[in-house]
């Protein structure tokens, strides 16, 4: 299956990445996300559980980041398994400056198998879109200046400090989290 989309986030690229650096924000943004486990600089394991439609599945996805081109683009290769089937695929992610904010563009090519493939691509596509909206909606809500200025102000401070202190290494780390976030979100879409 193929899935593509883009989201406009009203923050600068750098700010978006800062926020992406916070595991708590990611956890809150991804539907059903339970944990990220870092296996190496570019390899991750992520777990999420979702109960939507006929399935209630906990799945684990292995993620690898390649073609790193900070801060513009990268590729995420991932595969996830659960009792209701599997998903494997590639996502290309691009970040662009747009209208004073950041436009995040993704393209996913994935193979899904098992029960999840059998429920029908129309249902999967529809649900994937819906899940993407939930993810980015939640994410924007959590990182937008209004919110940050109130209860979540510490996040901005933390992210900002880290970004300034060790830009290169931190960029990579940010990317990894961004990648992990996306692939888990994508796997979550596929597993609904």
């Amino acid at each position: 299956m193929k899935l593509a989309g883009s989201y406009q986030i009203n923050l600068s690229k750098e700010k978006v990445w800062e926020a992406l650096n916070d595991p708590e924000i990611l956890k809150k943004s991804i539907p059903g996300c339970e944990e990220f486990k870092k296996n190496s600089e570019t390899e991750f394991t992520a777990t999420a559980t979702n109960k939507i439609g006929p399935f209630n599945a906990s799945f684990t996805g292995d993620i690898e980041l390649t073609d790193l081109n900070p801060p513009n683009s990268y590729k995420i290769t991932g595969s996830g398994n659960s009792p209701v089937g599997f998903a494997s695929g590639e996502a290309t992610v691009k970040l662009e400056d747009k209208e004073g904010g950041t436009n995040l563009i993704y393209e996913v090519e994935a193979n899904v198998g098992g029960k999840i493939a059998q429920v029908g691509s129309r249902l999967i596509d529809m649900t994937a879109k819906k899940m993407a909206d939930i993810f980015f909606g939640k994410f924007s809500e959590l990182v937008s200046p209004k919110e940050i200025s109130s209860s979540e102000s510490s996040i901005e401070e933390k992210g900002g400090l880290e970004d300034q202190a060790k830009p290169k290494k931190q960029n990579q780390k940010i990317l990894i989290f961004a990648g992990a976030t996306l692939i888990v979100a994508i796997l979550a879409f596929l597993f609904l």
Partner: protein
């Protein structure tokens, strides 16, 4: 007494079915039963590196977990191919092993790997989710046209080729083609179909620890055959310790001929865990694992003369067998397809070459019509195209090539005993108002619509079949049928048949036949089928064989009852046997006009004595009782035939195809119950229109089934059909005493080409493939518009 054969007797079975009182396999529950859930491969092709059952075994309510390892250790055999087909070079077909639970490699999505038994269905499902299978995913072979160029999926099956089969004479065909004025060519795809029986497959197994007998309740079209296969090849139990019951079965269409993995596994496991087991397929499991139908890629050519005479025919087909060769899998694209591909025509030279390939998809086997719909689609598309290219009328070109003499020695295999193809087509033309079509086309045009008319004439070889013939062609068993008629002392009669009714109305038609033969009311007769402990033996129901083979066995057994009755009545009436006439249920002594009813005779057969009288009514050499059986093996196949005409109207703005008129004229020989026959024709046409316009089974390039539910697989609905206009002609079959030919498959055989010919006619000859969905037709309409604009 009026004959019941030929009358519209209402169906006996409707009372229970319409009241929801049918008793299906899933309705059966046995005390202390466990529930089975199968762990299936999510991959189309993968090595099974390991199967870890430890977590599943600890799961709540789980009673047992079994895998391919245990079934191999217990030496339980796998699923079988029922027909051995030889390649053109004389080599035997290549058949891979098909274990009931895959141990080393999974070859299609849905193939069972392990099974979990638990106290409740939910617990079994939960347990199944905890079985951890470690796979190494391999590249799947999905497209049949590419299979021979792809990596071999089975050891020892080079190029994924099961066989490369030839029927006919290539040299004679080349000579005929060299002399032809015109060669008509078509490239066709016969779309893969999911049979979609209303009742999903199911089984309930009860192992009796005392008698060591296994009772298997299952959704089968042929319980005796299932027992034979499970005993002889599966080694599940000796035949006399295995009882197979197929109670009410909600449709089969060929998909319930096979003995499936689940039945073998549950039967074996019930003995192992010493608990009854129940398994009922979910709808998607049916989509994934029921044998599919059709799936041919065909290139065919017809050599014609300018005046429309057919000179030669060639057919090059790749048939997709799916992952494994099953019971009728290998014969469906060969002997059930090749011979019929020359259709109802005199064609001096012909050949059919079929390459059957394995792919990582569900096994493909017989589906309503089995090979004959594919054959009819091939020849009838060619004939219609020939008419178009020669500028001849569609019906004229057919008439010109029909045989006029019967028996008709068809080009490739069959000698058709009887028929009148000209009469059938004439009648269809008249009933469809063929002459008035142009006026209707103009009227549609005026409304902005495209109207087309399509014709198809077919014959089929069914009543499967003469044992000697089918065994010479590679069938593993003889296809006779048996019957037993038990005339009970109190006058009720049980008719046992080896055929199996799963929608065919045997309770009614077989009772009609027996009632006529025995001269008793139909109400006195009970037709019994579907239980290996009750009936003698039987080969089951498929290939329109129940009436033409099984029905005749009933007739013959009834005749034996009457013959014995005559001998007994003669003794009772104190006359010679040849002085007795049997009529309307009475044995009449011709001279004295004294009579005994068949009921009195039956009573005497069981109670052959009276107080104070030493005489026995049982003649010397006869035994008491009135039970007779018969095994009938026909002399030939039977050959129903007919002509169908369809009119469609296309809305070029939406591509929607509306079937406006559908006329079917069929020759089924003698008809036992016209109402039931009409029902069979309706169902067949509906399935054929489904294939032509709606249904398609689609795998993606990795072998995932994309059409695994009714969300994505389009079934035809009542509002897709017009009222069917049915007519009949009748020439009696000479191969059986009733003169019957069979009607179960005809509708599904004739209708796909009829509808497609009409669609293509409406599109001005532009060829499109089945199913002619709105999207495809809309695109074709746009192309047509463009080319019309260019021409203008």
């Amino acid at each position: 007494m009026a004959s019941l054969v030929g009358s519209r007797v209402e169906r006996k079975e409707d009372t229970r079915f319409l009241q929801g009182k049918g008793r299906y396999t899933a309705d059966i529950n046995i005390a202390n039963q466990t529930y089975a859930v199968f762990v299936r491969s999510p991959h189309a092709r993968a090595k099974i590196k390991s199967v870890d059952t430890s977590k599943a075994l600890k799961s709540s309510g789980v009673v047992g977990v079994l895998t391919g390892k245990e079934i191999a250790e217990d030496k339980i055999g796998g699923l079988i191919a029922g027909w051995a087909i030889r390649s053109e070079d004389g080599s035997e077909m290549k058949v891979p092993a098909n274990p009931p639970l895959a141990k080393d490699v999974a070859n299609f999505v849905g193939e069972p790997i392990a099974v979990v038994f638990a106290e409740t269905l939910d617990e079994a499902k939960e347990g199944a989710e905890k079985v951890k299978v470690d796979y190494k995913v391999l590249k799947a072979v999905v497209d049949p046209a590419e299979a021979m160029k792809s990596e071999a999926i089975h050891d020892g099956v080079d190029k994924n080729l099961c066989y490369d089969w030839l029927l006919g004479d290539r040299k004679a065909v080349d000579e005929a083609f060299a002399k032809a004025d015109k060669i008509i060519k078509v490239d066709l795809i016969n779309n893969r179909l999911v049979p979609n029986a209303m009742e999903p497959r199911a089984c309930v197994v009860d192992y009796n620890t005392a008698s060591e007998e296994i009772t298997l309740y299952t959704t089968s079209q042929n319980p005796h055959l299932s027992r034979l296969v499970m005993s002889a090849f599966g080694g599940v139990a000796p035949e006399n310790k295995l009882r197979v019951v197929a109670p009410d079965v909600g449709g089969g269409f060929g998909s319930k001929i096979n003995v499936y993995n689940e039945e073998i596994v549950c039967s074996w496991a019930s003995k192992k865990i010493e608990r009854p087991i129940k398994w009922v397929a979910e709808r998607t499991e049916s989509f994934l694992t029921d044998t599919h139908g059709r799936d041919h890629v065909t290139h065919a050519e017809l050599a014609v003369s300018n005046d429309g005479k057919f000179l030669g025919f060639k057919n090059e087909t790749i048939a997709n067998l799916g992952a494994y060769a099953r019971v009728f899998g290998t014969v469906t694209p060969t002997y059930l397809f090749g011979p019929c591909a020359t259709g109802v025509y005199v064609i001096p030279a012909a050949y059919s070459n079929v390459k059957a390939v394995y792919t990582n998809t569900a096994p493909v086997d017989a589906y309503r019509g089995a090979g004959r719909p594919e054959a009819t689609y091939t020849i009838e598309r060619l004939v219609e195209k020939a008419a178009m290219e020669l500028g001849m009328d569609k019906t004229e070109i057919r008439m010109k090539n029909f045989p006029t003499q019967f028996p008709f020695k068809q080009t490739l295999v069959h000698t058709v005993d009887s028929g009148d193809y000209v009469a059938g087509l004439e009648k269809a033309k008249q009933m469809a108002d063929y002459a008035g079509f142009e006026a209707r086309r103009k009227k549609s045009e005026a409304n902005g619509k495209l109207r087309g008319i399509g014709v198809s004439s077919y014959f089929e070889a069914c009543g499967i079949a003469p044992s000697a013939a089918v065994m010479s062609l590679g069938c593993g068993v003889g296809l006779w049928e048996s019957a037993e008629v038990r005339f009970n002392p109190t006058g009720q009669i049980s008719v046992f048949t080896g055929a199996h009714s799963h929608g065919q109305s045997h309770d009614t038609t077989f009772a009609q036949i027996a009632a006529d033969e025995l001269g008793v009311p139909m109400e006195n007769i009970d037709v019994v089928h579907g239980d290996t402990d009750k009936g003698t033996f039987g080969m089951g129901t498929y290939g329109s064989r129940s009436l033409t083979v099984g029905g005749i066995a009933i007739v013959n057994a009834c005749k034996k009852i009457v013959a014995k009755g005559k001998r007994v009545a003669a003794k009772m009436l104190e006359v010679n046997e040849d002085e007795i006439e049997f009529k309307d249920g009475e044995f009449v002594a011709l001279k004295s006009n004294k009579k005994k009813t068949i009921g009195e005779v039956a009573f005497a057969c069981y109670l052959p004595g009276q107080r104070d009288e030493m005489k026995s009514p049982i003649p010397e050499g006869d035994e008491p009782g009135l039970i007779e059986s018969s095994f009938f093996d026909p002399a030939n196949f039977s050959f129903p035939a007919g002509s169908h005409i369809c009119e469609v109207e296309i809305d070029p703005d939406t591509g929607n195809v509306k079937v406006e008129k559908y006329t079917a004229v069929d020759d089924f020989g003698r008809i036992v119950n016209p109402m039931i026959v009409e029902g069979q024709v309706h169902g067949g046409i509906a399935q054929g229109i489904g294939q032509a316009l709606h249904e398609n089974t689609q795998y993606d390039e990795t072998g995932q089934l994309m059409t695994a539910s009714y969300m994505d697989y389009t079934m035809p609905r009542a509002d897709n059909f017009p009222e069917f206009n049915l007519g009949f002609t009748c020439t009696h079959a000479t191969s059986n005493p009733l003169g019957v030919k069979g009607c179960g498959e005809a509708g599904a055989i004739a209708s796909p080409p009829t509808v497609m010919n009409a669609v293509i006619d409406a599109l001005g000859g532009q060829e499109i493939s089945m199913p002619a969905t709105a999207e495809k037709v809309w695109k074709a309409c746009k192309t047509m518009k463009k080319s019309n604009a260019k021409a203008a």
